[in-house]
């Protein structure tokens, strides 16, 4: 028994030394040893050569292209100029729209996880898991072993180290008033690098020349809490975002001591004013609602009212290696992180877009739309007019009223005395 203990201790110490020299030290100085690059290469190769992994295979292949082709004809087009009367067939329009939404709707589609065209050897992405071939099953089995026995413990250790040093580090830095900025940046950078490694994250930064400058506002699309780490990996930001509870809450409360982050309750509009007051001179990132990597929803226009230079940033995850979408109403942060850590890797592209400023006479909403489109265009994301808030809250009744109003206009000419003809027609 003692011998076993000694061996275990030796293995552990070797393991920790390796982790320290190969991962933690490089993180501190911001250098890469190229291990993750090699890992990624092996991964790409494996997924390529595995039969069924790449090749679309009915029953296995998940559908990306959708179920139906929508009819985009508007109500006005259908009615045309031919009439201003009600007809019994008018319900066909709403009816068709309604059933189309039942079969496939843009919003709920975006909030559930993005579906893959090919299987990436993770059980969770293969809903109709069928036996395909012995070879594929063996590869999948090895994958499970590697992911759960090798990668998971390493990642959990790294994440624990990262999160702990983030909390301890920022709290300590918070106590020192004088050299705060420089130190806080170091802590943030180091910890986020450790955390990115904990997720086997490979991040590609594009157009670095457009990297946000001090004093500007950086706006990014937002898929999950790891966006924050990914952005911080390349520079320190003061964040503005939704306050969370649990583990996220602990981290948020700690970091706020070192860096002027602002965390607000989604429902507390009061804080929005606080945000505008505090942001002077700081660089901060604003997040739109978590959405699953295929689209950009309406940005909260708060940050666009202030003016100043906006640096749009587009973040797009590669779903091939793991799904980074956090459905916060379904999974807690811990189970979400577990899902991520048992995936292959997180591969993500970050595009720094040219800075934009508000044009003269342009209102905040329009400006926000413009920034949103530029992000959507770059990230290859679809643009959605829906407010991200739809995800949880009931749909605003105004959207319904608008349709009713439009329809009313069609069947009654300027609210005219249509009724006059009604009585005489039967004569």
């Amino acid at each position: 028994m003692e011998e076993f203990g000694a061996v275990a201790a030796a293995v552990l110490s070797v393991w920790f030394t390796l982790v320290f020299t190969l991962i933690l030290m490089p993180s501190m100085f911001g250098v890469s040893l190229g291990i993750s690059e090699i890992y990624m290469k092996i991964l790409v190769k494996t997924l390529e050569v595995t039969p069924g992994g790449k090749k679309p295979n009915p029953g296995l292949c998940l559908y990306f292209e959708g179920i139906i082709q929508r009819d985009e004809t508007t109500m006005e087009e259908i009615a045309g100029l031919r009439r201003v009367n009600f007809e019994l067939s008018d319900i066909f329009y709403f009816c068709k729209k309604g059933y189309e939404a039942i079969v496939e709707d843009e919003v709920t589609q975006r909030f559930s996880s993005e579906e893959l065209v090919s299987w990436n050897l993770l059980t969770r992405t293969n809903v109709n898991f069928h036996y395909i071939s012995l070879r594929l099953t063996i590869v999948w089995g090895i994958g499970v072993l590697v992911r759960y026995c090798l990668l998971l413990p390493l990642r959990i250790a790294l994440a624990a180290i990262g999160i702990l040093s983030m909390i301890v580090g920022t709290t300590l830095v918070g106590q020192l008033p004088s050299i705060k900025n420089w130190l806080s940046e170091l802590v943030h950078l180091t910890c986020s690098r450790i955390l990115v490694r904990a997720l086997s994250g490979t991040i590609y930064y594009h157009n670095k020349e457009n990297k946000p400058q001090k004093g500007g506002i950086c706006v990014a699309n937002h898929t999950s809490p790891i966006d924050v780490i990914i952005l911080t990996n390349d520079g320190c930001y003061a964040m503005v975002g939704q306050a969370h509870g649990g583990l996220m809450g602990v981290i948020q409360r700690a970091t706020v001591k070192a860096c002027p982050h602002v965390w607000f309750e989604r429902s507390e509009m009061k804080d929005r004013h606080l945000v505008t007051k505090r942001c002077d001179g700081h660089l901060w990132a604003n997040a739109s609602t978590c959405i699953n990597n295929t689209s950009v929803m309406m940005f909260k226009k708060g940050s666009f009212e202030i003016g100043g230079t906006i640096y749009p940033v587009a973040i797009k995850y590669d779903p091939q290696f793991g799904d980074a979408f956090w459905n916060s109403s379904k999974y807690s942060i811990v189970s979400y992180l577990l899902r991520i850590m048992t995936s292959w890797a997180i591969v993500c592209h970050v595009w720094y877009l040219p800075p934009v400023t508000r044009e003269e006479g342009e209102d905040a909403v329009h400006f926000a739309d413009r920034v949103k489109s530029s992000i959507a265009l770059r990230g290859g994301l679809t643009e959605l007019p829906w407010d991200g808030g739809l995800k949880r809250a009931k749909v605003k009744s105004t959207l319904k009223e608008e349709q009713q109003k439009n329809y009313s206009k069609m069947i009654v000419r300027n609210g005219s005395a249509e009724s006059l003809s009604a009585g005489t027609e039967s004569d």
Binding site: C95, K97, I102, W386, S419
Partner: protein, 195 residues
């Protein structure tokens, strides 16, 4: 990750649904995946609330009636079979279906079944007649608060007068069909399902 076995669709079931609705194998599996994603209770059936959670449907003026069509009298759950049966009304009519032999039952997506489906959206009490009240209810749903009771009443009266042939001040299914004689129901009541 857990076992997905309970949510899998058996081949026999797919065959039966295929026969009943005319959907293809891959259409059925895709719609099944949609069905399960709507099924938040994860019990294999959908409730009215499950449908109401679709934002686009929630803003549809006729949303409630559309949802209602999935549920048979007194039921508050619909299973995948029923879900598919309702959706089958919206399958486009394919060329080879038009000339089909008359022996089998009429397909759910025939012109007459599409019309009957639309008729039932109006006919809430299922007495095979659209009464003035029933028509008014649907009208009110579509126009909201934008048109006065008086005006809406006269629209309803005129619609009934134009359709009514037997003088009972209501619209029967036969009369309904007659009014929509020239309407391209096949196109307007069809959704382009991908193959």
């Amino acid at each position: 990750m857990g076992s997905r076995a309970s949510t899998l669709l058996r081949d026999e079931e797919i065959e039966e649904i295929k026969k009943e609705t005319g959907f293809s194998h891959s259409q059925i599996t895709r719609l099944y995946s949609r069905f399960t994603s709507l099924d938040k209770g994860e019990n294999g059936t959908l409730s009215r609330e499950d449908f109401q959670r679709i934002p686009e449907l929630a803003i549809n003026p006729l949303g409630d009636r559309i949802i209602n069509a999935f549920f048979s009298e007194g039921e508050d759950q619909v299973n995948f079979r029923g879900f598919m049966r309702t959706l089958a009304h919206f399958r486009p009519i394919e060329d080879n279906e038009k000339s089909k032999d008359q022996n089998g039952p009429e397909p759910l997506n025939s012109r007459s079944n599409k019309l009957h489906f639309a008729f039932r959206l109006y006919d809430l009490d299922k007495d095979d007649k659209i009464s003035r009240d029933e028509l008014l209810q649907v009208l009110r749903m579509m126009v909201g608060v934008n048109i006065s009771d008086e005006q809406l009443g006269s629209i309803a009266d005129r619609t009934i007068q134009e359709a009514d042939q037997d003088g009972d001040s209501a619209i029967s299914f036969t009369e309904f069909v007659k009014v929509l004689e020239k309407v391209d129901v096949e196109q307007k009541m069809s959704i382009r399902f991908l193959h």
